[in-house]
């Protein structure tokens, strides 16, 4: 329990309404005995410095959508919420760069940028809740990663508050930069274990003049046929922004098609998009079915898509236990991951929704069912991933259950380097302790 002195010390930095007793604790943990809402970088630094000097722990939260992602502490001493640390610092449309405070919600950013016909090239889940800081800290990406790249391709500069309160800038505001080590990369995906990212500079892309979504479903569910089709697409000159395979359950939920379905999206000038749609329809294998969705219908599909995984910001647990796993394999092996995960439904009496990027190698498997069944099925999904030479991370699970599983899987052989970095930057383990791989 946080000492009364600490609370009163923090009160010297903050107004009453910036400090709260975090009574509504979350079923996903990663909470705090008290919560603070800094509004400036200086205030973030003050909290960190105070905690670091006084042996307190801090849990960091943005929109909370990833609250079920790692972490073995139900409550740290302080929950640092970036909810009130929001807004655009600088947007230079001519340079196509944007600097933003980390607590800003992703959808708000995209809505703002749309007025300039620009966007951030990322497609995260729960964009209306998730913050840009959280997305970067967890290195979140969606199916359009094939065309967009990931957070590490979009971020060009960061300001990060270190545990001792100093502010370290990395990268800059220009799109090309090799001055010094690229330590932006260390913070991207670090799960808040090295510092609190306070400002993020991103390179932007123009909003494409035309978009469409082509769904190709395979009623026979023959994965060899799907593979052959995907290989043909990848080897052709068309440039889909996504080449994502959905399992029948997910395809049914999003598009009412109860079979394996490939979601190909195209973003370009109109003539190019139409050409690519035609190209796909002409190369369709015998029994596959084609659904071309113009922009509005495509939007509807994707909006549903980005909400299909469990949301860590929920205040209560649903009746059924939910788990979600992020799986990385060699690109086309995501087919194998989806296929073998499918078989776990009967074996463990669970429902599975899954999708995998055949052009980028990341899959996501969401499991719903009874507590133990979900845990067992998740362990089996990891076996499937590891058998394919890949990894599986449990990216969503209620706090109580996380204690019973291994969220991150085996430590890599170079774990000593990861630990070395953590020890250099956060020697007192002040930030998000135990949130990351190997207890970092």
């Amino acid at each position: 329990m946080i000492a009364a002195e600490s609370i009163s010390a923090l009160k010297t930095y903050f107004r009453e309404d910036q400090i709260g007793n975090n009574e509504a604790s979350s079923p996903f943990g990663n909470s705090g005995d008290m919560v603070v809402f800094p509004e400036t970088e200086g205030e973030i630094a003050a909290v960190l410095k105070h905690a670091d000097l006084n042996g307190l722990t801090i849990s960091i939260i943005g929109g909370g959508t990833k609250r079920g992602y790692g972490g073995l502490i139900e409550k740290a001493d302080i929950l640092l919420s970036l909810d009130k640390y929001t807004g655009i610092v600088e947007h230079t449309p001519g340079d196509m760069t944007l600097t933003v405070k980390s607590g800003t919600r992703f959808k708000d950013l995209q809505d703002y940028l749309a007025r300039y016909n620009q966007k951030i090239s990322l497609d995260p889940f729960w964009a209306e809740i998730a913050t840009i800081g959280g997305i970067i800290a967890a290195n979140e990406s969606g199916p359009k990663r094939l065309g967009y790249g990931s957070a590490r391709d979009a971020v060009i500069g960061l300001r990060t508050v270190y545990p001792d309160g100093k502010v370290i800038r990395s990268g800059g505001r220009v799109v090309k930069n090799v001055a010094g080590y690229d330590i932006n990369k260390l913070f991207i995906g670090s799960m808040g274990t090295l510092g609190v990212i306070s400002e993020i500079t991103l390179k932007l892309r123009p909003i494409p003049k035309c978009e469409s979504l082509v769904l190709v479903s395979f009623p026979t569910g023959n994965l060899e046929e799907i593979r052959a089709f995907a290989v043909k697409v990848l080897d052709s000159m068309i440039e889909p922004v996504s080449l994502e395979l959905l399992n029948p359950a997910l395809s049914d939920k999003l598009a009412g098609i109860n079979s394996y379905t490939l979601a190909l999206s195209f973003e370009d000038v109109e003539s190019s998009v139409r050409y690519q749609e035609d190209f796909v329809s002409n190369m369709l294998p015998g029994d596959a079915e084609l659904y071309i969705n113009p922009m509005e219908k495509a939007d509807l599909f994707w909006n549903r898509f980005y909400r299909h995984i469990p949301n860590g910001a929920a205040e209560e647990l649903p009746a059924q236990t939910e788990a979600s796993l992020k799986i990385g394999t060699v690109n086309l092996d995501s087919l194998q991951v989806l296929k073998e995960s499918e078989l776990l439904q009967d074996k463990f009496n669970v429902r599975i929704e899954s999708h995998g990027g055949l052009g980028h190698g990341l899959s996501q498997v969401t499991i719903r069912g009874a507590e133990q069944d979900v845990i067992d099925a998740a362990a089996n999904v990891r076996q499937v991933a590891e058998k394919a030479g890949g990894y599986a991370i449990i990216k969503h699970l209620p706090f109580e259950l996380r204690k019973r599983v291994d969220v991150w899987g085996n430590k890599p052989s170079y774990f000593f380097l990861l630990q070395g970095i953590k020890t250099k930057v956060d020697p007192n383990k002040t930030l998000n302790p135990n949130r990351f791989i190997g207890g970092i």
Binding site: I168, K176, G180, K185, N331, G389, L418
Partner: protein
């Protein structure tokens, strides 16, 4: 052992290192042989290495590194030696570990769009090896016909086409690295993305050979775009050219490349090996390339032509043939060397600025030129704001080299002052160590050297690169800290 495999040295380290790499044919240790290794593409600083060894595989690299580490011998890795900032110069009389014999293309997996290469494999050879299947490797530094992919990883090399496709770091999927203690680690196994843990791939790429020695690289390969078209535009005023660059980007076009040369640069390229007949009296030439689905290219080219015309272009046209396109690019890609045709020596700089500051920065560079009395040519990746001011000078005139270095540094200061940075693709190396202070505070530099200590604690690997020598105050602080601990 045959006579020619015998090493004629009394130095036990030379003998032991020769044993590791298999004899005299894999080590250089005589001064006459070592002078070729006293610098890289940055020729102003020179220092002889103690020896150059040529390992054939990862195990030999690891053994060399272990030996150097155990015997406190400084060492560094070198690729083709084309680096422009001095990253491979043996400042401390290092053992140079040359990677040129590790030059195999290990595997190509077209379906999963990746290839595995050894670090000595030449950049352009990768594209040449897969182009018949319709694939290529995107990063294309101007030296790509001879530079190695290992060196590209060390420097996070860019190139003309990184505007759309990104720099080296965006194309590296996996690395095998020999750590400074000789341990071999594999990061990004099989090129699988987002391995759990901090992103060491991203950290290693661009670390200028100071964190470890890369011995195997998994890269992303891309499908050739279906169509490609290049536009050439001549402007009477640099401002119009710069504005056209911004207009093209604002129109929502993402060109594959968007290059610019100024009057002095044009004079150089036209006097050199690949002239294309650029008019001598224009202020700026733009080279704009669009690629992608063929059906969409014409639309974009029309738009580009229109944008240029609105900005008072003197002449603008799309390439009439693939041959013409190739000539335009050869003229541009040999631009640095072309300066040799109009000046005995030149110094290449590598600043980056926010695109919108281009006119302002160019006029300040002009000012630096007139103040220093040295001509400065400008070749740049205008689309991403990466400027290469080429300071022309004559090293035979006493004091002119120093003047050129000073002018180069001032150009970087201008870039930093407008919110840019001191290097976009050439690296800091030796050349820009002090200029690091233009963009980072002492504390921020320390945050970076802290990371180096995790990987390279004794700083035997490529010491003295990338960071300015610590200022007095940091040294004193460190001493005080050391005393406090002891």
């Amino acid at each position: 052992m045959r006579a020619k495999d015998r090493v004629k040295s009394k130095d036990k380290h030379i003998l032991n290192l020769a044993d590791i790499v298999g004899g005299a044919r894999s080590i250089l240790y005589l001064k006459v042989d070592l002078v070729a290794y006293d610098c890289d593409g940055f020729t102003i600083h020179k220092h002889l290495p103690k020896a150059v060894v040529f390992p054939k595989n990862t195990q030999e690299v690891a053994e060399i590194v272990k030996y150097c580490s155990a015997n406190n011998l400084p060492f560094l890795a070198r690729g083709a030696g084309t680096g422009l900032s001095g990253g491979a110069i043996p400042l401390n009389g290092e053992i140079i570990i040359s990677m040129v014999r590790m030059k195999k293309l290990i595997s190509v997996d077209l379906e999963n769009r990746r290839a595995v290469v050894e670090p000595g494999f030449v950049n352009l050879k990768l594209t040449n090896s897969i182009s018949d299947k319709g694939y290529y490797y995107a990063p294309d530094p101007s030296s790509q016909y001879c530079c190695t992919i290992g060196g590209n990883v060390a420097e996070n090399a860019g190139g003309a086409h990184c505007l759309k496709y990104g720099v080296t770091t965006n194309h590296i999927l996996g690395l095998e690295v020999v750590m400074p203690n000789g341990e071999i680690v594999e990061i990004g196994k099989d090129g699988i993305p987002d391995a759990p843990g901090y992103d060491l791939l991203g950290l290693f790429t661009g670390s200028e050979g100071t964190l470890g020695i890369v011995t195997k690289i998994t890269v992303r390969i891309l499908k050739n775009p279906e169509g490609k078209q290049t536009v050439l535009a001549y402007f009477d005023r640099v401002e119009d050219g710069s504005q056209a660059v911004s207009d093209i980007i604002s129109a929502g076009i993402v060109p594959a490349a968007l290059e610019m040369m100024d009057k002095t640069a044009i004079e150089g390229v036209e006097a050199a090996a690949f002239p294309v007949g650029h008019p001598k009296d224009i202020e700026a030439v733009l080279l704009i390339e669009v690629d992608g689905i063929a059906a969409g290219i014409e639309e974009q080219i029309d738009q580009i032509l229109e944008v240029c015309r609105k900005r008072d272009v003197r002449e603008v046209r799309a390439a009439g043939s693939e041959e013409e396109r190739a000539r335009w690019w050869a003229n541009r890609k040999t631009g640095f060397g072309a300066m040799g045709a109009i000046s005995p020596d030149y110094l290449v700089q590598d600043g980056v600025i926010p695109r919108s500051k281009l006119p302002e920065v160019l006029s300040r560079i002009n000012q630096i030129s007139s103040e220093s009395g040295l001509r400065i040519a400008n070749i740049f990746h205008a689309g991403d704001g990466n400027l290469h001011p080429l300071v022309l000078f004559d090293a035979r005139i006493p004091g002119e080299s120093e003047k050129a270095l000073e002018a180069g540094s001032q150009c970087l200061k201008v870039c930093a002052d407008v919110g840019g940075t001191i290097t976009g693709e050439h690296g800091v190396g030796i050349e820009k160590r002090e200029e690091m202070r233009f963009v980072f505070t002492e504390e921020e530099i320390a945050a970076q050297t802290d990371i180096r200590e995790v990987f390279n604690p004794h700083n035997l690997l490529n010491a003295g690169k990338l960071f300015p020598s610590p200022s007095r105050c940091v040294e004193i602080k460190k001493e005080m800290k050391a005393q406090a601990i002891s």
